[in-house]
Symmetry: C5
Subunit: 283 residues, 5 copies
C-alpha cells in the first residue's frame, strides 16, 4: 500500500496517463428500507436491532485504526440509508459489507446502489513542482540521474499527500455523492488530449474547487477498473446550497462543460450511531 512504489514504474513516460497516488479504498452502499415490514416488527425488536446497528456502526467507524465508516439518511426515494466505508483493501471492504449483512436490521434492507473506488490524489501538481525543482537543480529530462531524482522529489511531495489519502470521513452534516466520467466522444475526447492540455484544463477546474475550499471538503475516489464510472466524488458541507453552487460553477468551466459526464446524485444527512433510532422511525 505504500504509494511511492508504483510511481517509480510510471515515471518513465510523463506524456501519457496521469499519475495518481492512492489511499483508502471506499465503498458507498445505499439501501432501501422495507418500511412496511419494519413497522410490523414488534417495537422491542426494532429497539434491539437499532441498538445493535448503532454498536456495529461504532465498531465499523473505529475500523481497528485502519479506516472509517459513516451512515447517512438519504433525501428522496433513491435510497433510505447510505453507508460509507474507508478501508485498506477491497478485502477489508468486503468484510465490512458482510458484517452489515449479518445485522438483524439488514433483514429489512434491500440493495439500492453501491460504488467501489479508492481515494486518489492527482500527481499533476506534485509532478509540476517536482519537475520545476529538478530544473532548478539543472537536472535535464533524459539525463542519467533524472529518473532517480524525480522519484526522490515525488516521494517528498507524497508525504504531504498521505494525510489526504488516508484521512477520516469529513464530519460535515451533508454529503453529495455522484460518479462521473471524462467524455470519450467521437470528436470531444478527454483521453485523446495531450497531457499538457489536460493539465491546463484541470488547473482551471482546480481554481473553482479552491474557491469553495473553506465551505466544502472534496474526496475523489478513482474507480477506473473498479466500478462503472471513472470517478466517485464526495462533497461534504454544512450548507447544502454549496453543492449546487459548486457543481454549477464547475459545469461552466471547460474541463466540465466539454468533458464531464455525470451519473446519479445522492444527497445524504449524516446520522451518528445515537441518531439511528430517529432515522429509522423508532420512537
Amino acid at each position: 500500500m505504500h504509494p511511492t512504489d508504483d510511481t517509480k514504474s510510471h515515471a518513465v513516460n510523463p506524456n501519457e496517463a496521469p499519475q495518481t497516488a492512492e489511499g483508502w479504498y471506499q465503498l458507498h452502499e445505499l439501501w432501501h428500507v422495507d418500511w412496511s415490514a419494519w413497522r410490523q416488527a414488534p417495537p422491542a425488536e426494532r429497539r434491539n436491532l437499532v441498538a445493535q446497528a448503532a454498536d456495529w456502526l461504532r465498531i465499523a467507524a473505529a475500523a481497528g485504526g485502519k479506516g472509517d465508516a459513516a451512515c447517512y439518511g438519504v433525501v428522496g426515494q433513491k435510497a433510505d440509508l447510505m453507508l460509507l466505508f474507508y478501508r485498506e483493501s477491497p478485502a477489508a471492504l468486503h468484510e465490512a459489507q458482510q458484517s452489515f449483512r449479518r445485522l438483524g436490521l439488514a433483514r429489512y434492507c434491500t440493495p439500492a446502489y453501491s460504488y467501489l473506488s479508492v481515494i486518489e490524489a492527482s500527481l499533476y501538481e506534485v509532478q509540476a513542482i517536482a519537475h520545476w525543482k529538478l530544473a532548478e537543480r539543472k537536472i535535464a529530462p533524459g539525463s542519467p540521474d533524472y529518473a532517480t531524482a524525480l522519484d526522490e522529489e515525488l516521494a517528498k511531495q507524497r508525504k504531504v499527500l498521505e494525510a489526504r489519502l488516508f484521512r477520516s470521513i469529513p464530519e460535515a452534516r451533508h454529503i453529495c455523492f455522484y460518479p462521473m466520467n471524462k467524455r470519450r466522444g467521437e470528436q470531444v475526447n478527454w483521453y485523446a488530449l495531450p497531457m499538457d492540455e489536460r493539465r491546463k484544463l484541470m488547473k482551471g477546474h482546480g481554481r473553482v474547487g479552491q474557491k469553495y475550499g473553506q465551505q466544502v471538503t472534496q474526496v475523489i475516489g478513482g474507480s477506473i477498473g473498479l466500478d462503472d464510472w471513472e470517478w466517485g466524488v464526495d462533497l461534504h458541507a454544512e450548507d447544502p446550497l454549496i453543492f449546487k453552487k459548486l457543481v454549477t460553477e464547475m459545469r461552466y468551466d471547460p474541463a466540465s462543460s466539454m468533458y464531464a459526464e455525470f451519473g446519479p446524485f445522492f444527497i445524504g444527512l449524516r446520522h451518528a450511531p445515537d441518531e439511528l433510532a430517529r432515522l429509522l422511525n423508532v420512537e
Copy 2:
C-alpha cells in the same frame, strides 16, 4: 438562507456561470399504491388510514409556517400519488418524507420516483437591470466601486424576487412536472456558449413563458448538484391543454429546440385532504 449573501461572492466574474437566487427546497415524491393489498384491508382500517393521512397532509401543508405541501393523483401508471413539499432545507424535507413513511397508508405505497431541487430564480434579468442602473450612475465595470455598487443594486432587486422564491404551492387543479437538462453535446453545448448568447436565448424563451403567464404558473427548481437532471419544472394550470400548448411552443424556440433535453413527464390532479378518500377508492 438569505439570498443576498452568495451573490456577493459570485459577482466578481460576470462572464461565467449564471447567478441565481434560491428559495424553498422542493421534494417531489411519487408513489405506487398496492391496490391489491389496499383493497384487502378492512373498510374500517382504510377509512382510519385515510383520515390519518388527511390530517397529516394538513399539518404538512401548514409546515409551521415554513413551506407547504400538496397531494396529486397521477394520470396513468407512472405513479398513483405525487406528494410535493416546499421546505427550508434538505433536512426539513427529510423530516417531511419520514413523517409520510410513518403513516399507516405508507405500508401500501412503494416508491415510484422522487426529485430534489430548490426553487430558483435566474438573476440574468436582475443583473441586466442592475448593470444598466450602474451605467446610468456612470460607474464603469472594473472601477473600484463597481463590485460594491452592484451588490447593492442586486440586493434591491432581490427583495422583489423573494416573494417568488418563498411562495406557497399554486392552487391550480392540474400539475405538469418534468426534469430537464441543457444539452452538453459534442457540437451543441449550452455550457460552452458565451453568457451573452445564453442570455439572448433565455430572453426569447421567457417571451413564450410570458405569453402563457395568465394561464399557467411556472415554478423552476434548480437541481445541479442535488439530483440527476439540472432542473425540475412544475407547471400549474386549470386547463391541462395549456401544458401541451406551452411546451410545444417552447420546443420550437431555439433555447429548447437546440439545447433542451427532457426527462419523464408526470401529470397530476390536485386532491385536497378531504378528497383523499376518493383518490384512494374508499367509499
Copy 3:
C-alpha cells in the same frame, strides 16, 4: 374544449410551432396479468370477476356519451391486456383508470406501461386551404382584415376536423400502438427546420399514409407536455401485415428516415366484453 378558441391566439405567428386542433384525451393502459395467482382463484370467482369486468367495459365504452373504451389482448410478453380510453379531460381519464383499479380483476393485474395523449389534427393542411381562400379573396397577409378572416376560414375547416377529433375507437381487430419523437439531434433537428421545410416533409409523409388509408385507420395522439414522447400513434387494421408495410414504407420517407425516433411497439387483438373470458383463460 372548443378547438376554435386557441387557434385564434396562435394565428399571429404562422412561422413557428405548427398549429393543432385537439379532441379526446387518450389513455393507453397496459397490464400484466399474474397468471399464477389468477389460476389459483376458484373458478366461480374467476367467472364472477370476468363478468364484472365485462360489465365495466361496456359502461366505460359508453362513457356517458363522452368518449369510448376498448380492451386488447397483447401479443408477446410486454403486457397481457391493453385498455384504451377516450375521454374529454385528464380528470375524466383519471376517473376511468380508477374505476378499473376498483375491479376485482385489478387485484391480479400489475402495471406494464401507460401513455397519455390527446387526439390531435395538424392544422398544416387546414391553414394551407385557408390561406389560399384568403388569397382568392385578395386579402393580403398583414392587412387589417387578415387575422379575422383567417379565423373565420379556420373555423369552417375545423368543423370538418371535429368528426375526426371526437371520434369513437376504430373497430378493427388489430391495433399497433407506439410512441415517437421528431429528432432533435446536434445536426439533424426537426425543431430547427423552417416551417416550410417541415410542411413539405409532412406532405410527403402524408402521401404514404393516404396510400394505406383504405386498410388502416391512424389516430395521432399529441403528447408534448403530457408524456415522455411527443406523439402516440395508433394504427387500427384488419390485416396486421399492413402495420409492417406502412411503417416500413414511411421509414424510407425523409420525414421518418431523417427525423423520426421510435419507442416500443405494442400489437393487440381487440376483445369485446363477451370475449374477456377467453382472453383471461376462463373456460
Copy 4:
C-alpha cells in the same frame, strides 16, 4: 396471406422501400423459471407438469399443419426457457402463447423477453432477376406492359421463395437469436441511402452468409411496425462456434460495420418434448 398480392401495390416505385415477401409470423418467448418454488413442489406434481408440458409442446409443434414450435434451454441467466412459435397470424400466435400460460408449468415461469416478427425474404434479388428477364424481353421500364410483366415475373420467383417463408423450424441443436436495426444516425443513415447503394451493400453481406450456408440456417424475421427492433435474426447450427465466426465476419462487412445496431443475444440448446424433464431438473 398470399405474398404476391402486395408486390403489385409496391411495384410502382422501385426506388424506395425494399420489397419483401412474408411467411409465418414468429414469436420468441423467453421465460425465467422460479427454481426455488419449482424445487419445493412435490416430485409427483413436477413429473405431471413436465408430462403435460411435453404433450403441449408436441401439439404446439404440430400446429394443425399451420406452423411449428420448439423449446430451447438458454445458456446463462437471461432466461431459462425459450419458446419459438411459427404461426399464420398474430392471432394464432396469441392463441399459442395463451395455451402455454394455461399449463401448470407456467405457474413457475415469469416473463424474460419476447419478440414478434414475420419471416421475411428480401425481394432485392428476386427483383434483380425479374428486371433482367424483362430487359431480355426488351420491355422497357415505363412502357405500358412493364408493370404487368414485372408482376408475372415476380410471381414466378416467389414460388421458389414460399418454401423458405413457410418452412418448419430448423432442427439444429443450437440457436442464436438477436434483434437488430439498420442505423439511422445523423450522418450515417441506412434509410437515406439510395436503393442501389443499399442493394450493393446487401449483396456483399449476402456473400458472407452464403460462405457459412452449409453450417448455419438463417431465418430473418421482419419486425418494423411489429416490435422494438427492425429485424429478429435466428441462426441455427450444430456447432455454436459458427455463431461467433459468422457474426464476427459480418461485423467487418460495410453493411454491418457502418449500418448495423444489435440488441441482446440469446444462445439456446434445443430440447425435444422428451428432454423437458432434464431441462427442468426433474430426475
Copy 5:
C-alpha cells in the same frame, strides 16, 4: 474443437476480419443472495447447504478434466457471488449452470448478471510471425504454395497458443471482470479501419498489457454472436490496485481512448470451497 480447422477457411482474405483461435467456453454467473431468507433458515440447514455447495464446487472445478470452475465474493451490491466456469461447449456450460440450480443453496439465490464467451487468442501476432517466416522462405503472397505454407506455419504457432486457450482459472485472490466493445461510431469506427491500422493499434495496446504481465493474468473471452458485448475481459491479480493502474493506462492508449466502450465492472475475491462458509456468513 481443433483450432487449426477454421484458420484454413479464413486465410484466403487477410484484409478483413481478424483471425482468432478459440479455447474453453466461459460462463460468468453472478447471483444475489437473499440474506433475509438465508438468515432465517435453521443453522443446521445452512451448514448442510454450504457443505453441499463446497462439494459441488470441487466437482465443478475438476470438470472431469475438461475445464475448471471458481467462486468469488463480489465487493458491493452488484452481486454477492460470482461463479466462473470453463467448459468445452455451451452444452457443457448449460449442464454446469443447471447443476448449480439444483443445489439447496440456489433456493436463496436470484440472478444478477451472466456472461457467455469463449477464450480467444488473436492471431494478429501469429500471422505476423507466419507471414514473416514465409517471406524469409521467399514464398510470395498469391503464389500457388502460399495458402498451404501459411496454414502449416499457423498450425505450428497455434500449438503454443493452445496452452493459453485451454488453461485453468488463474489462482490469484482478486478478479476484475468487465465486458467491452470496440466502437462503431458514425465517424470513429473500429470495424471500418483497414486491418493494418487495427493491427498497429493493437500492438500499442499489447505493450501496455505486457508491462503489467508479471502482476496480472488477462483472459480474453470473445463473445460476438454469443452475448451482448463483443468481449468479456477477466483480469486476475494479487494486488487489486493493478486493475486500476492497468485499465487507466490503457484508457489513454489510442486503441482504448478512441475505440473502446466499457460495460459494468465486477470486482471479486476468490473463495475456495472451504471458504464458502465464511462467504455465506455461516459461523
